[in-house]
Amino acid sequence: MKTGSTSFDEKAMRLMVERHYEDVLAYCRRHAPVSAAEDLTQETFLRFVRRAEAYDERGKPLALLLTIARNACIDAARSAGRAPSFVELDKGLEPSQSDSYAVELESALASLPPDEREALELRFDQGLGVAEAASVMGMSRFAMNRLLKRALAHARSALAPEPKGRLK
């Protein structure tokens, strides 16, 4: 995407929605009630359009979209009078009991502090680089590196005793 007046190109913005709608929706589903996730996703893209001039070709546009989505989720949580946090997945999305490792991973992630879960999500779900994940969470690259290492260590210890040969 180009900067300046070309940011208001409808075609480019449609392409942006096409590429990143699922990513933003996945983030909003985890950080806001599922019923509000679609509205927040739309709000994210609208805010992106309004702030398009601020996008300066630095990193992936997804990083800016997720930063906006994060703020939108926080705003929504504030207006609902509660602290922003991870929400429980609805029943239809829960892993089946037969996939025991997925269940273990789910509970291991649930046991992590919210910032560690969010860091893992940005890094391994959204595929952001360390610097981009750091900018989304408003911290330095070094702090994000430390947070990721800590989160992985906590996840490993939460998964222990690990299944034989499962994890390195």
């Binding site: 180009k2 449609r14 996945a26 609208l46 997945l89 779900d125 996840a155 040969g165 390195k168």
Partner: protein
């Protein structure tokens, strides 16, 4: 062997829910409509009838900007003022010490030197990477650059004019003014053209190099074609000063219009430049 990182990626992938195509299409339409609305608003704001000077004064815009320019003059520091004063003093001293010398050459040297010594203050804001930060301010990077250009241009014009009057012989003031402003315009234009595409150190080095080239050409003309500096060649200086002024204004306009981008965006390998 699978690592925890691989498992996390697989886990998150399995948790992804495919979006409802109808909702996604509706969001795309809504976003496209918002784009069109914003563009329409911008078109009205920028292509509508501009405010007249009287309206701007009534709205306080002129007073605001004047106060801002005055503030920038304070923030510019003493370096550029001292350098300008030193150049003027040096030129006056040299012309006084060597009254038989080519006054036009002294004028050219003064023009190029004064142009180069003020530019670091204009480049400073952008080269320090503050453009993104300043974008959110009422007076952003472009305002800072234009204010500093205004201050510096006024100061330079006074310095150059004073130098011209002090070194010019009777009846040659206009010619010496042209001889002092032509290299000044050329130097500023070249430096701005170079600075648009370069980082901090590169821009300053290129500015110094371009200033040296202008000085070298002026000196070469004094040695090889000294008739250029004589009164009979006034028309050459007239053409050069007009052309150089036009080029400088063109480059200054491009510089200011690009001020909202960081130097990285305008670098040679940028997708913005190579779009």
């Amino acid at each position: 062997m699978r690592t925890l990182e691989d498992d996390l990626k697989a886990y998150y992938r399995s948790r992804r829910v495919s979006a409802d195509p109808a909702v996604k299409a509706a969001v795309a339409d809504r976003v496209a409509r918002e784009c069109a609305d914003i563009r329409a608003e911008r078109d009205v704001a920028f292509d509508g009838m501009p405010l007249s000077v009287a309206e701007k004064i009534r709205c306080g815009q002129v007073a605001d900007y004047a106060a801002f320019v005055a503030g920038q003059a304070r923030f510019m520091g003493v370096r550029s003022w001292l350098l300008q004063a030193a150049v003027v003093a040096l030129v006056v001293f040299v012309s006084w010490a060597d009254p038989s010398g080519t006054m036009g050459l002294f004028a050219c040297l003064a023009g190029a030197a004064i142009a180069v010594c003020g530019l670091p203050d204009i480049f400073a804001s952008r080269m320090c990477g503050l453009v993104e930060l300043e974008r959110s301010c009422k007076f952003n990077a472009r305002s800072v650059a234009s204010a500093r250009m205004t201050v510096l241009a006024c100061a330079n014009a006074v310095a150059l004019f004073v130098s011209s009057c002090l070194i010019a012989a009777e009846g040659e003031v206009v010619l010496v003014v042209a001889q002092v402003f032509a290299p000044y315009f050329l130097t500023v234009g070249g430096c701005l053209a170079a600075a648009r595409r370069m980082g901090a150190s590169g821009a300053l080095a290129a500015s110094a190099a371009w200033g040296s080239i202008v000085v070298a050409v002026a000196y070469g003309l004094a040695i090889k074609c000294s008739w250029v500096y004589e009164m009979a060649s006034w028309w050459i200086w007239g053409i050069v000063v007009v052309a150089a002024a036009a080029w400088m204004l063109f480059e200054a306009r491009r510089w200011l219009s690009d001020m909202r981008f960081s130097p990285r965006v305008l670098a040679f390998d940028s997708s913005y430049v190579n779009r």
